[in-house]
Structures are given as structure tokens and as C-alpha cells.
Subunit: 235 residues, 2 copies
């Protein structure tokens, strides 16, 4: 029997209109669909694709407790990979929904590493939160021969300052509870005026503000973009 294919599909940043044509079509025809889901509430990835999912599809929610800053227990992915492998071995393709892009800070890698040696794999890239935040601000992320560094907000101040110093453009991901510290650091570095804050990019409740006007209480999925050049679009 021909094995099924593990298909990692990027759902983009949140707006269902920012899903690629291929991702939408694959989900519309998918017979087996897996996605990460919180222990309470709805799956964000599933909600983006809700209008494409067939009533007859088998759904595999992977319950991943959301504890910002901590990687979930590997046993969750062991179990999900085993369930998915059952379908793949039976010849069924399995579409795995991944917020943003499957290979950009995504949990899809935990399935990929468990299944790639035994089953064919296909990846459908998606629009990242990085691109969505730049779009929300209508300001270039990176230009010409710039160096872009993508940094997690969990890094300590010295590491962040060194990394920011070495780049032309910077994205600080996963801002969340680190917001007051990050803003104070950028103030010390003289970069608050070049920094933008975005949360929930592409969603109805999107916030796109200069960092100076951003709230102290930032959600986990928020981002600070910094452009250090003196280009005319920088205020």
C-alpha cells in the first residue's frame, strides 16, 4: 500500500484571506486534519481554516497546554505522532494546520522529526507573523543589503543589546510579559522612536502602534519591529 503523506500547511497569521490558495484547497479536500489546540478554548489554527474544513473530515486536535515560555511535554507529540502515523500507514494523507509558517518557530517540527524518516513529507509555506506585522505598520521590514535579526523577547538585556547593535533591522518576538523590560532597554539604546508594536496582526482586534504608545500588558503573540536606518519612512 502507498503510504500517506504528512502535509504541514501554514495557515498564515490569522485572517483567513491570508491563507494561500494551495493551503485552502488542501484543507478543503483533506480527509484527516490535525492541529494544535489549547487545553481550554478553541484552536487558533483551526479557527483560521474553519470555513474550508469538510464536515466529513477526521479531526485530530493535539492538546498542547499553553504555558508561555515553556516547551510542552514531548509525550504530547509522541502520542499525536502515533495517531497520525496510523493514518499515514493506512495510506491516508494527514494535513497538519500550523499558525503562520510551519517551519518558522512552529510546533510542527515536533511531528516532522518523529515522522520524516518513515513517511513522505510535504510543506506548504505560509505568511509569517513577521510579514503580517510589517504589513500592519505599512513599513519595510528590511531593505537592500540590511541585516535582519529575529530575536525572542526572553533573551536577557545584554544579549538583546548586542544582537540589536549588530543588525540593521530587528524583530523581537513573543513580547508578552517582557514588554516593560524591553521598552526600557530600547529607551536606553535610544531606539524607542524607531520601534513599532503590533499585536494580533491581520485580525479584527489588531493593534499597530509606535512602541512609545504600546500598552504595558502585551499579549504573548505580539512583536516589536525596529529599523535603525535613517530612511525617510522612519519617523
Amino acid at each position: 500500500m502507498t503510504k500517506g503523506c504528512l502535509i504541514g500547511v501554514g495557515t498564515g497569521p490569522g485572517d483567513p484571506q491570508l491563507v494561500t490558495r494551495r493551503a485552502w484547497a488542501l484543507v478543503e479536500s483533506a480527509e484527516v486534519i490535525a492541529y494544535p489546540a489549547p487545553d481550554t478554548g478553541t484552536s487558533f489554527a483551526r479557527s483560521i481554516m474553519a470555513d474550508a474544513i469538510s464536515q466529513h473530515a477526521i479531526e485530530i486536535p493535539m492538546i498542547v497546554p499553553m504555558r508561555p515560555g515553556r516547551a510542552p511535554a514531548q509525550s504530547i507529540y509522541d502520542a499525536a505522532a502515533e495517531t497520525i502515523a496510523g493514518h499515514l500507514a493506512a495510506g491516508q494523507d494527514v494535513v497538519v494546520l500550523c499558525e503562520g509558517d510551519p517551519l518558522f518557530y512552529g510546533s510542527f517540527m515536533y511531528l516532522l522529526v518523529r515522522l520524516r524518516d518513515s513517511y513522505p513529507v510535504q510543506i506548504v509555506p505560509g505568511v509569517t507573523s513577521l510579514s503580517a506585522c510589517a504589513a500592519a505598520q505599512a513599513r519595510p521590514l528590511v531593505a537592500r543589503s540590511d541585516v535582519l535579526s529575529v530575536l525572542p523577547g526572553t533573551m536577557d538585556d545584554d544579549q538583546l543589546a548586542a544582537a540589536i547593535g549588530a543588525a540593521d533591522a530587528v524583530a523581537i518576538m513573543k513580547v508578552g510579559r517582557h514588554m516593560p523590560r524591553l521598552r526600557a532597554l530600547l529607551q536606553r539604546l535610544g531606539l524607542v522612536g524607531s520601534a513599532l508594536y503590533t499585536s494580533h496582526a491581520s485580525l479584527p482586534h489588531e493593534q499597530a502602534l509606535p512602541l512609545a504608545e504600546a500598552p504595558d500588558e502585551a499579549p504573548y503573540f505580539s512583536m516589536i519591529l525596529i529599523y535603525k536606518g535613517d530612511d525617510p519612512w522612519i519617523s
Copy 2:
């Protein structure tokens, strides 16, 4: 009269199926479409969207001589912005096609900076070449709390070595004629075994190879991805 909106639309990396639903719909209904085009040959951005463009659309090719490594003359964008402004002032929206994502190393910024103070702007983010190259290799670009640095291949060896040393994951863009030098540098740094080469990601003639097997003659639009971690997906 209501002014028209400047709409920067990401076309994704090349495969028309990797265009977002919004981008496709906007181009289908667009009355005025602008795109970069080489001085000889066809426009890559237009070719991606060809099946969506109406026969009745007004097309504005922006002829940009392709000289790798050199920014084109600003007079080209002055002229294009003036033509586009004519349509915007007359109340017509203008859709500008941008390969990949409009704000990720794109020439769209040259129009944006000229028009944003006078006309409303909307950006539709797209799938970047970065995501497409990772997808072609089916390997994570960046994971957990990694630092990702995106570097132009034009940087000199010392700058590259320092930037690579400070990151967990690296993408070297615009490889082109720098390929032999870049490969030699990565050899010295002991990273050739962790490096992947991709050209023309998502297109029929895509090449996705370990760097060690990549050709010495690389096209301008090719990329080297490096992952320095010891995760099990690294060979």
C-alpha cells in the same frame, strides 16, 4: 473625489498556488496593476499572477534594469510613482505586484516612500523566499527560542563570520556569484554539513540540495540556510 489606495500585494515565491486568497482576489478585480519588469524578458511578479489579471486591466510595467548588487536609479521610481499617483488622484486603486512579500527586501518601498504621505496605503503580506526555501528542504528554519539572522551574501567574510557566530539559524540571501567564497567560508567555520542550498524555491526548476552538493554557479535568487543546533533533523 475619494483618492485611490496604493495596494502592495505580495505574490509569494513563484508558484501561483502560493499566492494568498486576498492577493488573488484583489488582482482579479484590479483595474490598474503595476509591477517591476526587467529591461528584456518578462516580469516575474506578473508571470506569477498572469491567470488572475483581467484583460481589461491597465498595466504599468516599471522597467528596472537588473544589475545584481546595485540599486536601480531612483529616477525609475520617480517616474513610476508619478504615473501611479495620476491614477490614485483620479480615484482609482493601484495594485502593485511584489515578488515574495512587499516589505521583505522588496522594491515596493521605493514607491511606498514616495506615495504614503499623499495617498492611503494597504499591504497584503506574502510568503517569503525564506519560508519557501525552508519548505523546499522540509527542515525548520528556526525553532523555540532561537535567534535567526538574515544576511546578504554581499557581506564580507569577517562580517559574515561574526553574524553567523552570534545566531542559531542563518539565512544567506542573494548568493549568486558569491557562492564559491561563501562555501569556502562555511567550510572554514565547520558549518558546511549544517548548510542547505536552495534556488528557485517553489518553481518547477527548484533545486534543494545540501550545500556540499550545490553548483558553483548559483543564480542571484538562491539562498543558503544554516542551522547550528544539534537537533535530530540536522544530518
